[in-house]
Symmetry: C3
């Protein structure tokens, strides 16, 4: 039953990716807006915000809004040999308009290929310096004959906005868990449509629960979006966020991986390691030196939010990364479901975490409460060992997560023991912080 | 000479076990009292205390006193097939009286066996829930023919007392070392007559010394006894006890083992590790998760006494554990002597521990005091290296035990160096705390 | 060009050793003075101090000044079989005068040999107990025929002085780096003429720089000299010295080694480990238990200066140590140059160390400053990775050295990045302390 349910979540998330895949997203523009509207249809609480281009965000300035209608290259015989309509990776992101005929020798300076991956169209952007360019497979590049080519890009820059989406799900506590994902990549699947779809599925699930914590879930363009969001909310975030995840590369089914926060031992790091150790013990552990996504902003000096990453195969670590090969065949329902499950289990673990404090001195008499065998026979004790272990460590100096790690059992299981002991007035369960 | 002396201690302790083995002990009753009287004959300072049944001790209540005269099972031919007189493990500890004839099919519910150890009679108790039962070897169990059996247990419960023994040996300091052992197990040898006999031998030895510390040596029933003792003395113990050992499973000659305190780095843990590293470097190191004796009470949250265990083969870790096979053939003078020696060396180490503080700046001139060669020739230096090492670490920030561990020599040897340097006014030796 | 330059420094240092080798040095006397005068000719700022014999220095007293003119043994045939003129190791250091004829059987008590190294003359001293003696190879010792021998030592003790040299090179800061080496060993090369010649070369180089720190460079007799220097300057040194090295055994070309300060994690230890990890990753790491030179005084309890040792093959660890085999063939320009380079690089590292603090929140926009590619293409990022890593760790909580270790690049390289970022107002570089 549960398995089926999870399976259907994987399939549902995959269907979101299929729908969103064709949209040409960038850090600004219609593609990002369409994507946010699609996500809002799934969880209506998603609010879409816009920040004017030109706004200073810390050391950066939001660039002009970029939109594109059409782009192609025509050879001297009149054949359209490269067409943005066929694959939006064909155009360098933020390309300026162009409309001219040039020789191959000149054109080459505007063409991007990956000789080592001859069948892949690379993903190239130039947000902060005006350029134009086309991306194509090296296989195709090699076939280009000398002669004239007409290059045409119908794009435009405008004094528009940067958009992002935000869902706030209030909990009993005003302490917050931050989930952040990005919506700025065009047609690629693991990096990055997996993040938004797993995140919207988590939001949907969180809405069905009575949560202890407040959830702040944001869909932003990478880097400029996180900087923008931080510049507006930094003080609030620093005083409220106790844990969170940057959700990226959560769609394939090859491996699990973890990238720490800069600090490395925040609550987010601890729960991520705990959960992955139990559900995917062979997961790959990266270090802060391997970082490369919005944790760079969230964990920057002076920002220092407790944000870690639970991923499937990490950006930069798989051959299809940032190419047209990162497509609908690379991700699958099982991959998405596995990441969803790891993040959901982590969130549940955070919700269950607490400081247990034993209420009696010495060991409690568990037998009198039918919590332990009241006959002492060799070899029968182990079944209730976790209860004894929980009680012995419940000195108020460490949280349930830490005790679960010492005992090496999932926090969810230990939480059952904790609730049982609480019901017998043997434990206080104090909230974290 | 020393060797012979130790041997005779081993033999003496073994003879105590032989004498005490037949007594049917339990957590209350005549057997425990007889055992305490026997021990008092060895060290007359042992005071026997009694606490009324029904007394609340923390989360527990001292159960009624249990005594037993006779117990047997008679088959339909009139043969006594199981008899408490032959082995007191045959009766479930704290069995209520019974006197009736029942069919084998019904009797089976009251019989305890160990199919995996067909020749062993298991040790079973039910202190806090009224039951009756018999224990027998699985080999015998299989021979039982259908038919009627007369079961007879002449036991009784009374509003009596729980007894424990206490020896206080005053030292120069009112800081205390706690030695605790238990006297509640019927006819078993390693777990547990080895503990009381090694402990009484240590008490005898301690009485011959001028001790720095005060020794508090208690002989109690396990769990309910330690809880009782703690409930009466908790504040005193917390403010006086600086180290101590739970003395159990110290009788066989198979291995040495160590179980830490909950804290794991108390003075007791440090000296136990130090001594075992020197006298039995292959000793087995257990963790707090492997605990199972009175350290559970002594180290409980809020109690937090510094109590570790130095053992031979640990309870629960050898096949004869809690069966009739844990008999006089399992323990031997060598095993007892080895444990006695390890504990005695640990105590001597604690007595010798101190904070050494060098009295001069720079290295002292040892040659002028004939503490070091006054001629410098290659290759002759190592003999006095420990003196130089002691001086270089004697900064008042660490104790002699810590320095001995850094230098990797027994604290007893380093203490000789320390006394020599003290006699030359090169070191102050400050008492711990 | 740089390589040639380094080579010539190695050769220059080797030529100093050749000049100084024949002098008969001891902890006092003409040999030490001649050596100091030679060094002063190289760096004229070297001031030579003298402290009267009989002066109390901590637990020691400076012994009488010792000088020697002549010493030999003549056999019964009138042949000079051992002559101080041929090798000054032939006489036990601080030998009292003697002039008599004795039998071989008596003479043997005054002869020192190394049976395990039959061709080596041992180095023997007796500073604090009046003795006389000769050292010779075991090979020669075995050839001595029975009969009478005339022994003659023309030495004298006088109420003179202990000398040491000191160079102070003022820097911008009054925080000091202490370099200490010893000038008390007679004709031996690795231990010890390598130390003084590498140290004087470092002094010469330091004089050519504008230094941040003040350099205190001392040439002293071992043990009694460091104790004397400490007794005069202890308070000043404790409040000013932030790092330093005891420079000894820096002349052969067999290995690199490191001996920590007593503390083990001072700035000196950190930079020594950093530099050796980069320039000689297979270097040998000794522990404080392996100490044996003036760090024993500098790091003594209560003195606690941050002094570590970067060495080539360490004293006591090579067969030629403290024998006539530690001669001009054991050390060479390459060996000296390697040690010089390691110490120079360490000093440069200390000069470059600082606390970098990023000036913006979130990551700075590096592309806009041409500090990073302004086009995002797969696989091109690594070139500027160290800039991003420096920025992410520049939180004001750790120094550049610590960040360089995290990133695993030489501090000199990271310093270039730091200066670049400082020039763009992206980093403050705060001085240490």
């Amino acid at each position: 039953m549960k398995r089926n349910n999870l399976k259907s979540i994987g399939s549902e998330m995959y269907s979101f990716i299929v729908d969103l895949f064709p949209i040409c997203r960038s850090i600004t523009g219609d593609g990002a807006r369409k994507t946010l509207c699609y996500l809002k249809d799934i969880v209506n609480d998603l609010n879409i915000y816009e920040i004017p281009c030109g706004t200073k965000v810390f050391d950066w300035t939001i660039p002009e809004e970029w939109n594109i209608n059409e782009a192609w290259i025509q050879d001297s015989s009149g054949n359209i040999i490269i067409d943005f309509k066929k694959n939006n990776l064909h155009v360098v992101g933020y390309s300026e308009p162009v409309n001219k005929t040039i020789k191959l020798s000149e054109l080459r300076d505007y063409l991007y290929t990956l000789p080592d991956q001859p069948d892949a169209i690379p993903y190239v952007t130039s947000y902060y310096k005006k350029r134009w360019g086309f991306c194509l497979s090296y296989s195709q590049f090699k076939t280009l004959a000398d002669g004239n080519y007409k290059v045409f890009i119908d794009s435009n820059f405008s004094n528009g906005v940067l958009n992002y989406g935000e869902i706030i799900i209030k909990g009993k506590s005003d302490k917050e868990i931050l989930l952040s994902t990005y919506i700025c990549h065009p047609s690629m699947a693991n990096n990055e449509l997996s993040g938004p779809v797993v995140t919207i599925a988590l939001a949907k699930w969180l809405k069905t629960r009575n949560n202890l914590f407040t959830y702040r879930i944001i869909f932003i363009p990478e880097t400029i979006g996180s900087l923008t969001y931080l510049s507006k909310h930094l003080n609030h975030l620093k005083s409220h966020v106790i844990a969170g995840f940057n959700i990226t590369c959560v769609g394939d089914n090859r491996e699990y991986s973890y990238l720490p926060s800069r600090n490395g031992s925040t609550l987010s790091d601890r729960i991520a390691l705990h959960v992955l150790n139990h559900i995917a013990p062979k997961f790959k552990k990266y270090t802060w030196l391997d970082r490369g996504s919005d944790e760079r902003q969230y964990c920057a000096p002076g920002v220092d939010l407790p944000i870690a990453s639970i991923m499937r195969t990490k950006y930069g670590e798989y051959p299809e990364y940032h190419t047209s090969l990162d497509d609908l065949s690379l991700v699958n329902p099982e991959g998405l479901e596995g990441a969803y499950h790891a993040l959901k289990t982590s969130i549940e673990g955070l919700e269950k975490n607490c400081i247990p404090i034993v209420t009696v001195q010495g060991e409690p008499n568990l037998g009198s409460r039918n919590l332990y065998e009241n006959i002492s026979v060799k070899n029968i004790r182990n079944s209730k060992k976790s209860i004894l272990n929980l009680l012995t460590y419940a000195d108020g100096k460490e949280d349930l997560l830490s005790i679960a790690d010492k005992i090496n059992i999932p926090i969810a299981d230990l939480y059952e023991d904790a609730k049982l002991l609480e019901s017998h007035n043997l434990l206080f369960l104090n909230e974290i912080k």
